[in-house]
Amino acid sequence: MKSNKRLYILEFFMLAFLVVYLYPFVIVFINSAKDAFSVTQYPMRLPEKWSQLFVNMESIWTSRNVRYSSSFFSSLIITALSLVFVTIFPAMGAWVLVRTKTKTSQFIFLIFVAAMVIPFQIVMFPLVAWFRTVFQVTGLRLLRTYFGIVLAYLGFGLSLSVFVYHGFIKNIPFELEEASIIDGCKLPEVFFRIIFPLLTPVHATIGILHGMWIWNDFLLPLLVLGKGNRIQTLPLAVANFAGAYVKQWDLILTAILMAMIPVLILFFIAQKRIVKGMVAGSIK
């Protein structure tokens, strides 16, 4: 009986704490439905008329600084393309690294794993200079293009991907591949027909882990895409807008709300999977 009472008290405290913890999101929501005056005068009050929310959302949708729809689709394209590359290519690489037992193979794997400690800061300035040089020499545009930023995400994401795939593929029995080779499968077929489908749970983990990172990333797009580019991601758009209109809180908060909505919807659809993927990735 006594422990029951304690459980109720704890329950109450946790509920209260959760409400306080998530209250900043409530603040964003209620203030996105206010005009410029009441947002700064009465930030804690409920909005007078909720229809203001749609007025604000429309201003953000059509704003030339945010260019919400185009930023949203740029973010989507960059994240989706990067995820395709950062799963398929590292899976292919990890497979041949596992199945080839040579010094070269071990060395390449070691280099990939060691590269995980490299912080973005040490390569970011030379990366920009190098991409510019590549353009001057070959005419291939890597700065301010989709190709360049997706290549950059493959480069920075592949170490973790190769490492995780490598660990998983090691435990797939080799007999499985041998059997299909005897049946007449070519090596690429063995990979794409037999191995790749077996990696589905790893694809999910990698996809979630890298997806969250790429969608929310700010510094890399800032450097590779630059400011004021036709292609801009949502975080760049928000930074651009909040920087340009420092005090227009009604619209800044609406922009924040609209930048959060896609991720929150995705989370409510697949919460268990997302949490599992992110935790699994960290433990490896």
Binding site: T100, F112, V279
Partner: protein, 306 residues
Amino acid sequence: MNRFHRNNVTFWVFLAPVLFAFVMVVAIPFVIGGFYSFTDWNATARAGQGLKFVGLHNFTRSFQDPSFLYSFIITTIYTLVNVVVINVLAIVLALAVTSKLRFRNLYRMGFFVPYLIGGLILGYLWQFVFNNAIPAIGNALPFLSTLANPENLMLRHVDTSIIALVIVGSWQYAGYIMMIYVAAIEGVPTELYEAAQIDGASGWQKFRGITVPMIAQAFTITMFLTLVNSFKQFDVNYSLTAGGPATSFMGKSIYGTELLAMNIYKVAFVGNDLAAGQARAVVFFVVIVVFSLVQVSINKKKELEL
């Protein structure tokens, strides 16, 4: 196995995309970056053209620059405080959400939500909370009227701004670290607790005697994650304080909340001193490598003990 060995073509073809990306994005910039840090590289120089070798000059002048030293100090403080706050909060929450609470799944998901949103966006959100929402609470509640005083805004002073950075950083990260602890706690065999229950152990004894040693492995991971991620903090710094307010250090007027990542960025892109930025990035890299090596060696030691 043999068949695979002979098939060198497949090996290189399958590795080609990752090798290409790795060389283009990581290897080459890493190597030229190391080289640039010993030259007089600046924003107008083109790669490999007319760079002069200056030895350790970039490093010595960085360590003589008050803004860099100051950034180093406050980044260390920020990191230490952040690591403690995040881990204490995460472990308390993890214990609560693995108990018999009725809404434990709601709490797990709820505390995780801030981690889903990027630091940049959260920084702007909290700027509004600190500058507008909190003073409004002070206006509404007489006994908290001190909050309404513009002098007491957290982002107005250097020390409270750093606390604000810790609040936002911990708020964002604690739910994620909590989930790692939850995974570890759920991995502890329930028989251990049942045996302790029969022996009449108290809740605290069970925590000290069973939970803590059983989740030691998770502890190394969370410490490392929080340490490195706090040390690398940039996004929240950029959007919440942008380095301000100003302060003075060693007789020079500098930004009061400029963490290392931001100091590196600003020196290079605002100050156009790419060589100095690169040298600082090298120092930054060395610190992170040391953290990583320590973590790996602790993990190894723990594995041997088990």
